[in-house]
């Protein structure tokens, strides 16, 4: 690995780390504006992280070593995922390290460990959250795979790097299959990131919560790392969406100028996506938990139809 490759990878990873909380702050800010509130500002997640890192970390007596170790593992998984996704350039050393299926595997690994950690303490809330998380996970994963396969069928490769290159360099064509896949992806995106129709990220201590129930026992720096990991997950899913459906602007070189232009494009696209996400969340009401399988079955259906139309209609 040459030095320039190494530096560009470091730059892309750092950008992911720093933009992720900003994206979360931006979504919350737009949601506040849409609800006619002034909002906490887009730097609020940073302030939260700063506060939590300075606090003492309290761990229950019944906690096993797994409980302490899990936040770091999840943070590592999601950071690696955001490094593998071609966010800025397709010419990064890690971009060819793993393909889309391995990426789904990384998310699954993080999910399994957060569920284990939530059940580790033995409180009712943790177990409840873990069960719900696994319910959503096992329904969302095949749907996500079908979405990725729809794009892979067009690019003839499961590597995100190749998909980005194929779609962005070809002349403009309408793919009906990608329309289906994009719709399915939006549903999966909402479910996986604990957004409104499935989970409400704004409330604690509600019987319907999923994500918050999982991390209820964490405090201090552990909680800070988990919150950061959640922001990274939102960022990772947004950039997967960008890579699959709006890849224009991702550079194929790695000179500093190209990277900076790509960064500007990325921030622009994330700002729009964050606004759209806030809009979707404002307009939809939370689903009952037993409606969630229906919601995700719809996503799976759309993904499968996407693949089928691709096979039938070709192009």
């Amino acid at each position: 690995m040459s030095l320039s490759q190494f530096l560009s990878q470091i730059f892309a990873t750092l950008a992911a780390l720093l933009i992720a909380p900003l994206l979360l702050g931006w979504v919350n800010q737009v949601r506040a504006w849409l609800a006619n509130r002034s909002g906490p500002g887009i730097f609020m997640p940073y302030r939260l992280l700063h506060k939590l890192f300075n606090k003492e970390s309290v761990v229950a007596d019944t906690a096993s070593p797994l409980f302490r170790f899990v936040p770091y593992l999840i943070f590592g998984c999601l950071l690696l995922a955001s490094a593998i996704i071609p966010t800025l350039s397709t010419d990064l050393p890690l971009a060819r390290a793993a393909d889309a299926i391995a990426l789904v595997g990384l998310f699954a690994l993080a999910r399994v460990f957060i569920a284990l950690a939530a059940m580790d303490i033995g409180t009712a809330f943790g177990t409840l959250g873990a069960r719900r998380e696994m319910l959503i996970g096992f329904l969302a994963e095949p749907a996500l795979l079908t979405v990725l396969f729809s794009s892979s069928l067009i690019a003839n490769s499961t590597a995100l790097k190749t998909i980005v290159q194929t779609v962005s360099q070809r002349e403009f064509t309408i793919y009906p299959s990608l329309v289906f896949a994009a719709m399915a992806f939006v549903l999966i995106f909402l479910a996986e990131n604990a957004r409104v129709p499935v989970d409400n990220p704004a409330t604690h201590l509600e019987l319907t919560m999923i994500h918050e129930a999982l991390i209820l026992e964490y405090s201090g720096r552990h909680l800070a790392i988990l919150e950061w990991a959640a922001a990274l997950k939102l960022f990772a899913y947004s950039t997967i969406g960008i890579a699959l459906f709006l890849p224009w602007g991702i550079t194929d070189g790695r000179s500093p100028v190209q990277m900076l232009i790509a960064l500007a494009f990325l921030i622009f696209k994330l700002a729009i996506l964050g606004g759209v996400l806030a809009l979707v969340e404002t307009f939809s009401a939370k689903l009952r938990i037993f409606r969630v399988p229906e919601f995700l079955a719809t996503a799976f259906l759309l993904g499968v139809i996407g693949m089928l139309t691709n096979i039938l209609l070709g192009t």
């Binding site: 309408i174 229906e294 139809i305 089928l308 039938l312 209609l313």
Partner: protein
Amino acid sequence: MSSISIQLINLFAAFLLLLAFAMLVQRRIINLVHMYALQGLTVVAATSVVAYVTNQEHLYYTAAITLVLKVFFIPWILHRLIKRLNVRWEIETLINIPSTMLVGIVVVVFAFNLALPVSKLSSSVSPGTLGIALACFLLSFMMMITRSKAIPQVISFLSMENALVFAATSATYGMPMVVELGIALDVLVGVFILGLFMFQISEQFESLDISHLESLKEE
């Protein structure tokens, strides 16, 4: 014959398939009517694009008839029917939506495979759309089987006809004008007669549930 218009036809075809699925799992009767109108509009758009690509004047007439009849007139009649029968906010309980969807996927795969050898023989602009039209047709058929109320059944019958019109325009550039007019008239008369039937059913049984029709004599 530009490639962008073929892509547009394919896109409209995909949209039709999506609408067929959405109708299959829709609970509210009033939304079904809206979706039916939207489906008609998609057929109109696809027909106009085919007419433009192949330069066939009579397809424009087909599109115009479809627009007037299936986007405005029949939905308007259905709205009036729903108002008169007072079932505007009625919600139908459907059996297990996820498994209905999975069966739907199987139906789509079946239709695609069935249409594949046929569409290979076709010389039309977008042979792939025949499979989608067939899938929409079968999905509407399935919707008719899974519904128990009269109005959703009528709507599924009408959406079946939409799928047929789409199949005709995309696979064979439409039928002769006389046949086209005949079918349009048939549908119109069919809606009137079915509307009358619905009034009869609701008067006799005070409900639109057609399972009442299964017993032949009064107990």
